[in-house]
């Protein structure tokens, strides 16, 4: 446990070295947030609600998505790990008395937490202060807020499990470009980061609800605004936990299997 805490600490120090990047990131997220909101407002037009998803719920959804981008986005990545696999420095990782899956998992989770910790507060603060109708609303209830926090955290746990598959695939392909593109474009869409689930056509929505991706973003973000009622949400937390366990075990299995076949090339 101490190891993972140290790992987290070193990651935060690492993240703090790039303060300008954090500032630039925040500016970008405001920009995207504003763009999304304007597009969706145009799309909503005179309607106050589409498929039961109100405009103010949508706006909260967009701001939360931007504030916790490091938690919900699939494309957040650790180039160091890719570089390690590509260059063969992974040899050193294999000389450590740790399970590589858990070790890398902790690194990636630490990266996301340190990333989000630097950014989410200022974004939320500004999003609360800007005028109606653009502002972020308060959570519908205390229950919803607590459940939002829990599912958001479970969401990032699941998100890292999903993104571990990208790293495992690099053992085979040796280049992250393909898997990254596939995961970020398809995964992003399926988790509701491009179009929120309530705005999707019914058939697509049925498919997306079966897949694990929506439990990363769509699920917690809609709980906050009350679009998914607390009672219904508690049942779905079980599904979220199921995916965490199932995909976690699968990832660990695939990782151990590919390590057996790994050949670190060169002298």
């Amino acid at each position: 446990m101490k190891l993972y805490f140290s790992l987290f600490k070193i990651r935060v120090y690492h993240g703090l070295q790039y303060r300008v990047a954090a500032l630039a990131g925040m500016a970008t997220q405001f920009f995207w947030g504003a763009i999304y909101i304007m597009i969706f407002m145009a799309f909503y037009g005179e309607n106050d609600s589409v498929n039961g998803f109100t405009l103010s719920q949508l706006i909260s959804y967009v701001w939360l998505q931007q504030a916790f981008l490091a938690f919900v986005a699939l494309w957040v990545r650790d180039n160091e790990l890719f570089e390690m696999i590509r260059s063969g420095n992974i040899a050193y990782e294999l000389c450590r008395p740790v399970n590589i899956y858990i070790f890398w998992y902790a690194k990636l989770l630490a990266q996301r937490i340190s990333n989000a910790a630097l950014r989410f507060m200022p974004i939320l603060l500004v999003a609360f202060l800007i005028p109606e109708p653009y502002k972020l609303s308060l959570p519908v209830s205390l229950d919803a807020f607590v459940l939002f926090v829990i599912t958001l955290l479970l969401g990032v746990i699941l998100n890292v499990i999903i993104s571990m598959f990208i790293y495992i695939s690099v053992f085979v392909t040796l280049s992250p470009t393909g898997s990254l593109l596939l995961f970020s474009v398809v995964g992003e869409f399926l988790s509701g980061l491009v179009i929120p689930l309530p705005l999707m056509p019914d058939w697509l929505r049925t498919v997306v609800e079966i897949l694990p991706f929506r439990y990363v973003a769509d699920f917690p973000l809609r709980i906050y605004s009350g679009n998914i009622p607390v009672g219904e949400a508690i049942l779905s937390v079980g599904m979220q936990l199921f995916w965490i366990v199932a995909l976690g075990l699968l990832g660990n299995y695939l990782m151990q299997k590919s390590l057996k076949h790994l050949v670190v090339q060169g002298g």
Binding site: L7, L94, R96, P97
Partner: protein, 322 residues
């Protein structure tokens, strides 16, 4: 301590066919035997130089011994563990330095990397304080600890890499080309350090290198491999005695001159007052050559040198057609 028996490793290497286009559809696969039936055993406290030309299989052996690579066949047992089967308990006993790779975190000070390694290996605070203190003193790291790794020179970084491999006080240290690219001062510092920890902490050391002076300074035993096979296993002096076929004599005269023929001796070079002679030890011996030389009254100085170890190794490679 280290027992290796009949170890073999074969790799499948894809080869390109005639056209780049047709190789999109099918590939020729060639099997390369990186290691072929290697056996040796190493006792506690030894320093073993593991040498061979590029591509001989040195790094492959080190990778197998550190549990990174699974061999095709053969046995390997290190302190009671089979490296690739019980990787996690095995790696606690070993420290590894790959001279061409880095294990330190690039953007943070060296000390942060050390602290993380302490937690990875679950080293107790008191033990950590002691071993860090020793490493800092011996490797002269005190002024480097707070520097980010990216700002270190290669020599400084290598000293830190070696320290990083020893934080958990392993019983065995594998060094894969630890002196590659280092200047003379850093090389000597690294060598002295290896000798110290071997003598004081009883660390068993296996090192690969292309620098024969590393071997001469450190290893009492060498294992030579080439094309995946073991060619020689024994001490360095014995190797020298077996393969040392020539000695070199440099003679300085008081005035420019030519030297008359001595049997078994060829003149390599005559430049002004100095002649360099090569003595074939199969045909003659040093005392008789000296006797013949001292007949000349105009000799100022004579020095006899062994053939450099590099040349012996080259002869050895040639003898085995590597």
């Amino acid at each position: 301590m280290i027992e290796i028996e009949n170890l073999s490793k074969a790799f499948q290497v894809a080869k390109r066919k005639k056209g780049a286009f047709s190789s999109l559809f099918s590939r020729d696969v060639e099997t390369v035997h990186a290691l072929n039936d290697i056996s040796f055993s190493i006792d506690p406290g030894e320093i073993v130089g593991y040498i061979g030309p590029n591509g001989a299989g040195k790094s492959t052996t080190i990778k197998i011994m550190s549990g990174i690579l699974v061999p095709s066949s053969g046995k390997c047992e290190i302190m009671g563990h089979v490296p690739w089967k019980s990787r996690i308990s095995h790696v606690r006993n070993i420290g590894v330095v790959f001279g061409q790779r880095t294990q330190l975190w690039w953007d943070v000070p060296v000390l942060d990397s050390f602290n993380l390694l302490k937690d990875i290996y679950k080293v107790s605070d008191s033990h950590y304080a002691r071993s860090l203190d020793q490493l800092v003193t011996y490797l002269d790291l005190s002024h480097l600890l707070q520097t980010p790794v990216r700002q270190l020179s290669l020599g400084q970084r290598m000293r830190c890499e070696i320290a990083a491999a020893l934080i958990h006080s392993p019983k065995i240290l594998f060094l894969d080309e630890p002196t590659i690219g280092l200047d003379a001062v850093s090389k000597i510092a690294v060598r002295q350090f290896i000798q110290k920890i071997n003598a004081e902490n009883k660390v068993t050391v296996v090192l690969t290198t292309h620098d024969m002076s590393d071997i001469e300074a450190l290893a009492n035993r060498i294992i030579l491999i080439g094309k995946g096979e073991k060619l020689y296993d024994g001490n360095l002096d014995h190797l020298k005695n077996t393969y040392l076929k020539h000695k070199r004599i440099t003679v300085d005269f008081t005035a420019p001159t030519t030297l008359s023929e001595i049997p078994g001796v060829t003149t390599l070079q005559t430049k002004g007052q100095r002649s360099v002679l090569l003595v074939d030890l199969n045909a003659t011996n040093i005392p008789s050559v000296m006797q013949a030389l001292t007949l000349r009254p105009d000799i100022l100085d004579i020095s006899v040198e062994n053939q450099p170890i590099e040349e012996i190794i080259v002869n050895l490679y040639e003898a085995h057609q590597l």
